[in-house]
């Protein structure tokens, strides 16, 4: 009996509506009080090609769809060939045989064939509604609460016409009806846990957008790119009504430089992108470092290099985020591990950037950016806007304001255009305390030290690693891999210390401390070269590491991690 944990994969051709169906299902899970994790898999084309969406709901906190699925809802043949082996013994496959009937070779699962598309066409005249019908089938098989499910459907389509809502509810009912008599999934039990309804279901990109809004970000410039576009899209909708500006720039270069301009003019500003666009922002981010402008950049990593696999996940921009750009420069690079952190990191990114007057790079990955998770409503009361040394009413300092005055902590007072007595220059050339260009070597040394000093200072306020468990064997990771790692740990027979790094630059000393009694560390990451592993080695001196790496564009499963650790440790 599997209790309160169900993973469903919905697969079909792009356009079959798998994503929409998954959306309703994940909303249902939230409503019954479950946590949710999802994983999209679709090709970089618009129509056709196999697409699938995995949704898992569970009572316990989850961040991964897990190793296997309990139900496969398949609208095409590819779904079967690609995913049939993924079904847990005792699970079920539902196959829409309207297009074609096929042989399904597994004896240990339930196999249901039903011509959903045909029924939909016949009964409602709309083939596409087969999706909602399929939800009816699943609901019946797994004893879903039909009332809550229908509420969910209604709410999901609440911006659509009455007619559409009616049709979908009808489709759902037909699905339930048609599955009467099918063998029920008695080995699954899903309770209704819903208590206080204080949760939200959202993906990382939405959380980042919300975090930015909450932080008073009032400017976003971006150029569309998967998987970062959602943030631009979200803010394009929500910024204008807050007096902010969302602008789709002519390129990523334009975008970062616009954002730097906005920051210079005093707005909290951000630019969002992914790999190829991140490359193009290199020079602009360097300018921000040099003129000490607070600006926030999101790099939602996808599989590289070059155009790579645009709709697939990876964690291979770590090096560029830290080291990208010529010259020595100060910046902050933080990596949220889940949707909740995506919100808070996004919020804090603006505080950090203004406090330290540096660009802050949020490094997410496609999986976090798109993974829908259930989070507690954000604790806005606990948050505070900190603008650092922003000087809105400077006292008279003479004709020019010493924008780059040499303060003990390396952070100068900042004024912005429009402020009386704040006039000064800013330039990416080396400059004196008024921002005027100078090539004087003594000044150069002072200014370099002023800017670099911030690196030590900021360490105190950055996000330390999250450590779970104790032991001589450690797992180190960053970003979205935390989900499968936690589940792998649960299955492994011995104690493991899990160190999840959240600040990549400057690298914090706590990782070294945490490795003190560790004998061997597995570094789990989604790239080929072991970029995180190198970072750990360099910064801690700890060298007995074993890389667990994945670079096929698909996310980790707990089993991969579990197996590799068992193999190396002989467990």
């Amino acid at each position: 009996m599997k209790i309160n944990d169900l993973a469903v994969r919905i697969g079909g051709q792009a356009g079959d509506g798998s994503l929409a169906t998954g959306e309703i299902l994940s909303r249902y899970f939230r409503r019954i009080g479950f946590y949710v994790a999802t994983d999209k898999d679709f090709p970089s084309r618009i129509r056709g090609g196999h697409t699938s969406y995995a949704i898992r709901g569970a009572q316990k906190k989850i961040y991964s769809i897990g190793d296997r699925i309990d139900a496969l809802l398949s609208f095409d043949e590819d779904s079967i060939s690609l995913h049939i082996d993924e079904i847990e013994p005792g699970g079920v496959v539902i196959y829409d045989n309207s297009r074609k009937d096929i042989e399904i070779n597994r004896e240990d699962i339930k196999k249901i064939k039903i011509p959903l598309a045909n029924i939909a066409r016949k009964e409602l005249g709309i083939e596409l509604i087969k999706n909602t019908m399929a939800l009816g089938v699943i609901s019946h098989l797994f004893h879903f609460d039909e009332v809550i499910m229908k509420e969910t459907i209604k709410d999901t389509y609440k911006n659509k016409s009455e007619k559409i809502i009616e049709e979908n509810l009808r489709a759902f009912d037909i699905g339930v009806e048609k599955s009467k008599g099918l063998p029920l999934m008695e080995n699954y039990s899903l309770q209704i846990l819903r208590g206080e309804d204080d949760t939200l279901l959202l993906m990382g990109n939405e959380a980042i957008g919300l975090g930015a809004l909450a932080a008073g970000c009032r400017f976003i410039a971006a150029y569309p790119i998967t998987p970062a576009s959602d943030v631009l899209e979200f803010l394009s909708k929500h910024l204008p009504e807050r007096g902010g500006v969302a602008i789709q720039a002519e390129s990523e270069i334009a975008a970062i430089n616009m954002a730097v301009g906005a920051a210079y003019a005093g707005l909290r500003a951000m630019a969002v992108t992914s790999g190829p666009g991140f490359d193009l922002k290199t020079e602009g981010i360097g300018l921000a470092s040099m003129i000490e402008q607070p600006v926030v950049i999101l790099d939602a990593q996808r599989a590289g290099p070059s155009t790579g696999l645009p709709t697939k996940t990876e964690q291979s921009d770590i090096n560029h985020a830290i080291y990208g750009g010529h010259g020595d420069k100060a910046r902050i690079v933080i990596a949220p591990g889940n949707v909740e952190e995506a919100f808070y990191f996004s919020f804090q990114a603006f505080n950090l950037s203004e406090k330290f007057q540096v660009p802050v790079i949020i490094l997410s990955d496609e999986l976090i950016s798109w993974n829908k998770q259930v989070v507690k409503k954000f604790d806005l009361k606990s948050l505070k806007i900190e603008r650092g040394k922003l000087e809105l009413n400077p006292s008279d300092k003479g004709k020019e304001f010493p924008r780059y005055s040499l303060e003990d902590d390396g952070i100068s007072y900042r004024t912005i255009p429009g402020i009386e007595k704040g006039i000064h220059l800013e330039t990416g050339d080396e400059h004196d305390i008024y921002g005027h260009i100078t090539e004087n070597p003594v000044n150069r040394v002072k200014m370099m030290e002023k800017r670099m000093k911030k690196i030590e200072l900021m360490k105190k306020e950055l996000f330390p690693s999250i450590v779970e468990g104790e032991g001589e064997v450690a797992i180190i990771s960053m970003g979205s891999t935390m989900g499968p790692i936690i589940e792998a740990m649960e299955r492994l027979p011995k104690n493991i210390k899990f160190i999840r790094v959240r600040t990549l630059f400057p690298f914090l000393d706590d990782v070294k401390e945490n490795l003190k009694d560790v004998k061997i560390a597995f570094v789990v990451e989604q790239n080929y070269l072991g970029q995180l592993e190198d970072l750990v080695k360099l910064n801690t001196g700890f060298r007995n590491t074993v890389g667990i790496r994945k670079y096929d564009g698909r996310s980790f499963r707990p089993g991969i991690i579990e197996r590799k650790i068992r193999e190396v440790m002989g467990w």
Binding site: R27, R30, R31, D197, L200, L201, L202, E206, L210, L213, A214, A215, G216, R218, F219, P240, R242, G243, G244, V245, I247, A249, E250, S251, I253, A254, A255, N257, M258, A259, V260, G261, A262, Y264, A265, G266, L267, R268, A269, E283, G284, L287, F378, L380, L383, I385, R387, L392, K399, I416, P417, G418, I419, G422, I423, L425, E426, T427, G428, I437
Partner: protein, 280 residues
């Protein structure tokens, strides 16, 4: 009108005789005539000899990176439309590495003036060919003469949607200051291409050469777009305001609701709770 000395800043380090002195003088005069408040003015430049102009003109100033001044200026102007934002830089800055931003700032009709100090050469990097150099022009990177037709900056801006296009000559700072004044006053994107000789590296396009190869626009109706195109196709350089039309600016279109002032303190935005509904 404000005392012109208000705008004095560092002493220019341009070569004696450089055309950019004339531009600086003209800009100061225009600013003085308009009574520009240095506190509310931002002079945004790229990189090049010409781009150093904000070291010599007193106001808020940001000397950005090569080619990106227009993008930075867009961010500034959209963040605080009350600022007077002026962009300045060289021909390489605007018409080579900065091409994309020029085209797009023009079509947006952002309310800024862009002064291009066009010396048909790369000054600061010591005399390489520029996008406005004439075909056959010999430089250290085109020892056999340039193979490329020059970019016609004002034509490019006009074709991109600029609502004000003009050409001045730094040998005539008085006319130039009038043009710059009009450009700043113009509501919308204004491109001012200034023939501004580089006395060190460009021995062809000198003050005299420009005098011979330019003419004053007379009796021209700057609202006539077709005529403006024709003028810009001339072999010789027409001097004056070539095109001018009032159209809604980008800021006017963007800020339909209200403007968020960057000059005020901010609090955590609790209104995001209203969006929560999307996530349920």
């Amino acid at each position: 009108m404000v005392n012109i000395n208000l705008y004095d800043r560092d002493t220019p380090t341009w070569c004696p005789g450089c055309g950019d002195y004339g531009v600086l003088t003209a800009l100061k005069r225009a600013a003085s005539n308009l009574g520009l408040d240095p506190t509310k003015t931002v002079l945004v430049t790229g990189i090049g000899c010409s781009s150093k102009i904000n070291s010599y003109f007193y106001s808020y100033g940001i000397h950005t990176i090569h080619g990106r001044a227009a993008a930075v200026a867009t961010g500034i102007k959209l963040s605080n439309p009350e600022l007077e934002v002026i962009i300045a830089g060289g021909d390489g800055d605007a018409y080579a590495i900065g091409t994309e931003h020029l085209v797009h700032i023009a079509r947006r009709n952002l309310d800024v003036a862009y002064i291009v100090m066009n010396n048909q050469i790369y000054g600061l990097t010591k005399g390489q060919v520029s996008p406005t150099s004439d075909e056959g022009f010999i430089t250290i990177t085109t020892p056999y003469g340039s193979y490329e037709k020059p970019v016609n900056g004002p034509l490019l801006a006009l074709a991109s949607g600029a609502t004000f296009v003009a050409r001045g000559f730094s040998g005539d700072p008085l006319q130039l200051s009038n043009i710059i004044e009009e450009a700043i006053k113009h509501k919308g994107f204004a491109l001012v291409d200034v023939l501004s000789p580089c006395v060190t590296w460009n021995k062809i396009n000198t003050y005299d050469w420009y005098k011979e190869n330019s003419y004053q626009l007379k009796d021209h109706d700057p609202t006539d777009k077709k005529k403006a195109f024709e003028i810009l196709l001339d072999e010789k350089f027409a001097l004056g305001i070539i095109y001018k039309k009032e159209e809604k600016t980008f800021e006017e279109k963007v800020f339909r609701k209200f403007v968020h002032s960057p000059l005020k303190p901010i609090d955590v935005d609790l209104s995001i709770e209203k969006i929560y509904d999307e996530f349920r």
